[in-house]
Assembly symmetry: C2
Homo-oligomer: 250 residues x 2
């Protein structure tokens, strides 16, 4: 059972879209997948059409409900999800007062059935929630736009992960950077890609996800782009990424 | 002297790019402009080439230094800035313990020279920092991508602003929503725009900012796109927005 953080503290870098799309591709390939929405803004839950639910990841973190009780099964997508809601913002503040606060997710995310992959969608900040995700995870995927501002964020992500690796979770491994919303015609995309490859000791996935309106439309239908528009460029790109992921994530 | 929050808790919606570009356009038109980087990730500071500084907005918030002391003058852009650094993340946590914590920015942002506009760039969350910005502000600009997930965020922004207006700052006024990174060919952009106009009681600016690689390149040169690429589409769009802003912001 692999726990994978989808992380980038920069906003709008395709974290949620990647968590959903990768999850849907893996589910199509017969893997058992659990998605966890760890963002108080609940984009992942919303994108999969989840408006009503009994329990959230916040309830799980507070120890009010067992993780298993908070699971919603999505029949069409073939995967499970633990949703979030805005109460998670206050719960993050409460957890900050607990001793071993970075371990709260690890302590409460127990008693789950045997999933192949648990993908955790993180919020755009290096808040306690993201640290909790990195502390419980085996692997990390970093979706990134190929822009100048994304580079500024990369330093911070890398040093945060190095810190967590040495203090809290030695087994944590960066699987790689996934270039997203790529416009292949742009010189900038290739320049940023090359710069990262030369200056950072982080693997970059071969696959990249093109900028494609279908990915931006899918959330209003409550579906992954994989199911909403299977022949679209973004769906095809995520299929290729899913294959690459399966090879590397052993 | 008008204080304006550039706010949207959704990540990557062009807040920082808008704060810088609008500021640069107003400065070109002879207005005295101060930019405040209120994001611990310091994108605004980085985008304007500020790597070394004596004081940050964090020092100001903690009362360690007068606001005036933290100002950096940017000669080429013709505007002033109070930068931020990652220490702002811990400072936000400290401020949360203070009584009247939503008023800390209002209390410490004093003794400034007479600026025409103070533009405050907010982080991607509805954290205490964003609330402080909204509490001290006269006006709000909401930059938004025209995608389905942006709509989910709009409810939350609106209710947060309504709450602050009734509890903390009755004079707060939403100037409008600015569509950013727009691809005019996309049906989705027009659908989202129409949906907002029909369902939200929030004005939408006539101007919109097109998706344009020059805007994504500018930060690596430490310049606003207005100065980096004055004849680019994004620079022209921000010029038009600057004119519209001046008419409305009276
Ligand atoms: N490949 C793509 N092509 C076009 N639009 C995309 C693509 N991937 C994501 N988007 C859109 O871009 C916006 C940002 O993506 P997303 O919400 O997945 O990023 P995020 O990193 O999770 O953001 P946040 O930091 O706010 O959590 C969304 O409106 C999404 O629908
Ligand atoms: N008009 C545009 N065309 C193309 N790229 C743009 C445009 N405006 C902004 N960008 C790029 O898109 C990314 C997100 O923009 P920006 O950082 O300004 O958003 P933000 O809302 O401040 O993000 P965050 O939520 O992380 O603070 C950046 O890499 C930026 O350079
Ligand atoms: Mg997200
Ligand atoms: Mg920003």
């Amino acid at each position: 059972m692999k726990f994978i953080s989808i992380v980038n503290q920069k906003g709008g870098t395709g974290k949620t879209t990647t968590a959903i799309s990768l999850g849907a591709v893996l589910a199509q390939k017969g893997r058992k997948v659990l998605l966890i929405d760890l963002d108080p803004q609940g984009n992942l839950s919303y994108s999969l059409g989840i408006n009503e639910f009994n329990h959230t990841i916040g309830d799980v973190l507070m120890g009010d409900v067992a993780a298993k009780e908070a699971i919603v099964h999505l029949k069409e997508e073939g995967l499970d999800i633990i949703p979030s809601s805005i109460d998670l913002a206050n719960i993050e503040i409460s957890i900050a007062q607990i001793e071993e606060r970075e371990l709260q997710l690890k302590k409460t995310l127990t008693g789950l059935r045997k999933y192949d992959y648990v993908l955790i969608d993180c919020p755009p900040s290096f808040s306690l929630l993201a640290v909790n995700s990195l502390t419980v995870s085996n692997q990390v995927i970093i979706p990134m736009q190929m822009t100048a501002l994304s580079l500024q964020g990369l330093d911070l992500i890398y040093s945060t992960i190095v810190q967590i690796k040495s203090n809290l979770n030695p087994k944590l491994k960066i699987l790689g950077i996934l270039p997203v919303m790529v416009d292949k015609r742009r010189k900038l995309s290739n320049e940023i890609k090359a710069y990262i490859e030369e200056n950072f000791d982080i693997k970059m996935f071969e696959s990249s996800i093109r900028n494609n309106v279908k990915a931006a439309e899918a959330p209003s239908f409550g579906k992954s782009v994989i199911n909403y528009a299977p022949s679209s460029n973004s769906a095809k790109d995520y299929q290729a990424f899913g294959n690459e992921f399966l090879l590397i994530s052993k």
